[in-house]
Subunit: 786 residues, 2 copies
């Protein structure tokens, strides 16, 4: 009972027995099916759409084209509304578009009696269009300044930038030109090592990947009178409600969003996707239910992807004891894809993080978001940090080689230390056990021995290596964006508790840990606490939703506060029942205690409170908590690999991950998050890349057969540990955990391969093809002439 | 905007366009259908049930017999739990029974893939049973003291009694033997008129009738993990949850009751019906959804009916000016049917009301509930008063004839006057405009002229009459039973309001009037207020539900209180935004005002409150209101009829109803309630009676073809008026309205027939057959020898 226990997930039984209801389980009888007509080119404009033949097909109820939808542009990012207009999210989407910006863009939609008929009708639609040459790479888009992908932002196809210069961990400037000239001046002509310092200038590339959550993007909508109800796979029902209002003209109060069970999300369901279109369609259809169930192929392309990035690392570093210095210029060019979505927030998050994790003499950070004719990139687990961590952590190992020191030791010299103050944020960051994470991980993997032992044997075609990576990750979005969370609690008349939060369970286990927190304060066992897992915006407390690994930290504080208020109400009523003062009473296990003895059961108090005729009270509390703090979580990942050099094949023998996430509410669930994050990191390292035809931009592997995510057989033995820590700003000493485990995994594997082979891989994923090419470059195997 | 306006019903659009979702609209895909095996005899025991053949039928998923269900007896009445154990409701039901108590009792249930298969399977079940002679009348049941219908209450088949002696409007005793001997002494040998007083001793009979709500009894249940969800046609979701817990052993927190739109209820859906069985079935079926959709035939017999009663009226009355006296003994024998349900509450309510509406020198009240082998009787609109009003009001007109005075004037002499104090309840009763109701009604119907004019012409075969009836009806169940109500309000960020109450909209319009109340306090127009009409016990505030015409009175007070609290929160936040004090601010229409000018829109305040980073607050309030008052509503109904004597046919020319329901929140809806009540009263007067075979107890007309409820063509012109009044204990001066309009209608029609023909009808309904027999008795038409 309470925090710190590895109780089973609350929803384990439902999920295992199949009674958990997902969007597709809830389709009303006679739901119509909507299917999208996607563009078959990546850049251009639709001139005309002829739907006559399609409309004549029996069973087709409605066809809507890009010329029929409201021309109100809306944002698709689920962030709380900023009160300052200048901080508003970019609104660049229409429900359907005549300006095609990626291969698969949405031109029209057919609503039919079933999906089969709808698909048949799609083939009968005739489209006239004008095609432009697709701009698929950052370079192409940069260079085609006269051919804007978004005519409304004809800014050289660059959406935005964020630059800074931080010196001695103090922010000097964020003015772009000033930062760029500082970069220019500082490193002009810097090509050589000088004095005790080594110099490096390398560029790292990470690919487009996709969330590949188990459950595809699924929604349906219908009208209740003049109100529209949307049941959908969303991480952020309350924000979605506001955005649907902005997009459709329905007032916020006339929109009801329902979020049932969700089969994984990883940031992709933080997006507003087809909900506005569905609201528009059901309204046109007199309120009949309409569903949009994306296929896997559509989910890959028509929802969101992770930003591909090119990250240039210019570094001068000295590790000489007493003369340690680190000066870096880091430049991120981020492939925004076709729509703004989160705008520049992801590269911003990435570039600022580089000055957190290591802070030497100075960091010059530059980041740029470039529109291309690829699917839109947006939030995905780690929000830019996995990308930049690949560059920073790979670079760290390369510098260590140049400096001829252990990369673990090099990290320790420059990494964030306790007492660190974020130059971008005046709030102090409390707990930091990063060093303990590294030490424990090194011990478990046998770092020192293996670095010596493996180095000796690495001459043949099978080579072994150990590598590592570290990270620092915040626990919410304070102070950049509003951080708030609501919680409502009802003490039922039998002494059991019903809880509601606006925060969303999306598979990560938040309902379980939030329940444990309530249990901790109220001394009610978790099996007598019912968490209302489905958010219905009509009745759910407000919460921006599941993102930024914020829920145990921010929503947890709301839960704690609500539970404390409810405790006070319980004790106040028990005082009235007993004639004792509130101070003489306290909560015991399902009981109110006085003088160390059980005075009433909770059922007695709850029942009396509700049923007494004098002053009946249903014991309810509800709070909104505003968060005014943040906290870094930390961790180190170690990989032990074997590389088959001629085959370009990496076998992972072992992963060790050690995290500092503060006090752990549920150790087993925490490790589950680590397992999942590591698995996703393995995919990022070795196999995942969404490929597009280089000429047309057509997706080539948007399915789970051709796009390889790790399966159970691909996962090596994992040792996951959490060091003891207590974060003072966390409701129970806890801080973030959801996203981080992914971050250092790919760098650790990459560095292990680097150690094994000496080949400095600077591009993910490390597919056999890529590795073989790299090994040829590095002279490990003979080059094949093409 | 606000109270006193005839805004359209909130749900009019949904209901007219068919988007309102009722239970049957919500069945999940693949819902299994449960069908009941009903007994084909009225009294006896099941010896054995052979389900082998039925179980072998393809598509049959489960068969459960009376020998397979838990043997925990439960109550079926949805009343709040009394904290005092001695006040607990009678628990005499099992999910299925081997002791058959009425024709149609539930012996077994088949669950199958569809209803067709389930019905087929029912026919294959073989039942061995022992039959007892059915006890179908009060007399038979009384006399068969050795053959108890409920072996657990072998009390001469009498469930309970409530007796009292009230003298000069003071309660003297409620001790049964004492009351009975007082009756005996007072009226011993009283058979003659004496002095100025006339004497009368007559018995009146009212039949078994049924609610005949448009939507049959419908429910389905499924499991969410270990929790059971029941979607059902209930008036009282929260109480249902508790009773299902008591019946099934599921804990209260593990039960979720959902009440969607309801197509009429009239008290019948205040009963717990098949919800416990459905919970049991879905649990046995691994959580698969199971529905039970009663047919009309089943709804008639297997839900509940109105109590048939025999009411003896012994009266001695004098109307001589200055010597007015009224002494009465009223004895109710109530046909309980086969199960306790509301126990003795309905006859109790009826017998106490007789001393409210008229109070002269004394009233001796006796009431008895007798079990018979008929369907169980329970709550139905008026809760016993329509029955007793027929007796009391008919008797009043008969006394008036004996006294040779206008029955209107006789009523005025003895009816409840302003300042009346209920002898059973120390709470004072405030407003009373009964006299104005009578005067206004008399004026509208043309009472004085018609009484003279019609009397002259009433000699032929077509005769005309005017008659009247009056009533007094309370506004809730205080102080007998706990009266509480909850309300939660959310001010959305666009300044619109979302409201939740635990009280249930069942067609009566409560959602609309409660919304008007919120609008009144908060100055938000009703079209920007969204009432969550569906009660889900996981999230709904507590409320015992729709009964006793309590919602505008009790729940209205909760709404007012919540709105006032929300107003305070709004003004407090606006004060912080503006730097002004709360006292300087007030609410205007969708705005906060200062110095008589608009300072902020409500949207600005709501949005700032939610989105400000300093102290974000979702503007929510929630209250539980405990009611400590009660109030009588009043009304008079007048009927103008033409009687075709040889055909025994009554044509109603006009109905005039004038009510005092305090301040009227929505005049149009109020009149709608009056229209509906009058229509139901016409059915009660003229046609409705559920008939049973006198030997077997088999229902003879349990369908809407043979059981005649008035259709649109049967409804005469109705004039409905509401006198101006203001009830100080009502939240907005309002008091009850839902049930009352039914009460005086049948008496008014009966008295009009009496006036037209001189035939003192003492039994309802006044069908042609009954009238012809009566007219023969009275010599209006020649007797036919049988």
């Amino acid at each position: 009972m309470g925090v710190g226990q590895s109780i089973p997930r609350l929803d384990a039984f439902e999920k295992v027995t199949g009674t958990a209801r997902y969007v597709e389980d809830m389709l009303p009888a006679n739901t119509l099916h909507a299917k999208l007509l996607h563009s078959t080119f990546a850049n251009g404009v639709i001139k005309a759409v002829n739907t006559d033949k399609a409309a004549a097909l029996s069973g087709v109820e409605l066809i809507v084209t890009c010329f029929d939808v409201p021309q109100t542009r809306f944002t698709t990012v689920a962030h709380p509304k900023a009160l300052e207009p200048e901080r508003a999210e970019i609104a660049d989407r229409l429900m359907l578009t005549s300006r095609v910006r990626y291969y698969g863009d949405d031109i029209a939609v057919v609503v039919a009696r079933n999906a089969h008929i709808a698909k048949k009708a799609l083939k009968l639609i005739e489209v006239q269009y004008e095609e432009y040459p697709p701009l698929l790479t950052i370079k192409d888009a940069y260079e085609s300044r006269d051919k804007p992908i978004h005519e409304e932002y004809p800014n050289n196809n660059q959406l935005a930038e964020l630059c800074y210069y931080v010196q001695n961990n103090k922010l000097v400037t964020m003015e772009g030109d000033s930062v760029r000239s500082r970069n220019e001046e500082t490193f002009r002509g810097a090509t050589e090592d000088s004095g005790d310092a080594v110099w490096s200038d390398e560029t790292y590339k990470v690919p487009v990947v996709q969330h590949a959550h188990l459950e595809n993007i699924s929604s349906f909508a219908y009208m209740e009178g003049r109100r529209v109800v949307i049941v959908t796979t969303t991480q952020s029902p309350h924000i979605l409600r506001r955005v649907v209002s902005e997009a459709t003209g329905f007032s916020v109060g006339d929109i009801r969003i329902i979020k049932p069970y969700i089969g994984g999300a990883f940031g992709n369901k933080q997006e507003v996707l087809y909900e506005p279109l569905l609201a528009f369609l059901t309204n046109k259809l007199g309120g009949r239910p309409v569903c949009m169930l994306l296929t896997r192929e559509e989910t890959f392309i028509n929802s969101r992807v992770r930003h591909a990035m090119e990250i240039r690392m210019q570094c001068r570093v000295s590790a000489l004891p007493g003369k340690e210095s680190l000066g870096r210029a880091i430049t991120i060019r981020s492939n925004k894809g076709s729509y703004a979505s989160h705008g520049h927030a992801v590269p911003s998050h990435a570039i600022t993080n580089t000055s957190h994790i290591y802070n030497g003499d100075f960091t010059i950070g530059e980041s740029y978001s470039i529109f291309t004719n690829l699917p839109a990139s947006a939030a995905m687990r780690g929000y830019g940090i996995p990308q930049v961590a690949f560059a920073v952590e790979s670079n760290m190992d390369e510098l260590a080689v140049k400096l001829d020191i252990d990369p673990l030791k090099l990290r320790k010299k420059f990494m964030m230390k306790p007492g660190f103050a974020d130059p971008f944020d005046p709030t102090p960051c409390g707990s930091n056990k990063l060093e303990q994470c590294i030490d424990k991980g090194a011990e478990l993997i046998g770092w020192d021995q293996k670095r010596v032992e493996y180095a000796k044997g690495n001459t043949g075609m099978l080579r072994r290596g150990v590598g590592m990576g570290i990270f620092a990750y915040k626990s919410c979005v304070y102070p950049l964006i509003l951080e708030n969370a609501g919680c409502r609690m009802i003490l039922n008349q039998n002494g059991s508790l019903t809880m509601q939060v606006g925060a969303t369970e999306i598979g990560q286990g938040s309902d379980t840990v939030l329940t444990q927190m309530a249990s901790e304060v109220l001394r009610i066992p978790e099996n007598k606490i019912h968490m209302v897992s489905e958010q219905d915006t009509d009745v759910a407390p407000y919460d921006p939703g599941s993102y930024a690994s914020r829920q145990t930290y921010v929503t947890g504080s709301a839960v704690k506060k609500a539970a404390q208020q409810l405790r006070d109400r319980i004790l106040t009523h028990a005082a009235a029942m007993s004639g004792l003062s509130v101070e003489q009473l306290s909560l015991g296990d399902e009981a109110v205690m006085a003088d160390g003895k059980k005075r009433f059961t909770l059922e007695e108090v709850a029942s009396h409170s509700l049923y007494n005729k004098k002053d009946s009270q249903y014991l309810i509390t509800e709070v909104t908590h505003t968060c005014h703090s943040n906290a870094f979580s930390f961790g180190a990942c170690f990989a032990d690999v074997e590389v088959d050099v001629p085959l370009g094949k990496v076998m992972i023998n072992q992963i060790v991950a050690v995290h500092d996430s503060g006090y752990i509410i549920n150790p087993k669930l925490a490790k589950g998050q680590m397992h999942g994050g590591i698995a996703m990191g393995i995919g990022y390292a070795l196999s995942e890349e969404l490929l597009f035809d280089r000429v047309s931009g057509k997706p080539l592997n948007n399915n789970l057969l051709d796009y390889k995510i790790p399966g159970a057989m691909d996962i090596p033995p994992m040792q996951c540990l959490l060091v003891d820590d207590y974060e003072p700003t966390g409701p129970f000493g806890n801080k973030s955990l959801g996203e981080p485990p992914l971050i250092p995994t790919a760098p650790a594997i990459r560095n292990a391969v680097f150690f094994a082979t000496g080949a400095s891989i600077r591009k993910l994923p490390m597919t056999p093809q890529h590795l073989v090419e790299s090994f040829m470059e590095h002279g490990l195997i003979p080059k094949i002439e093409h």
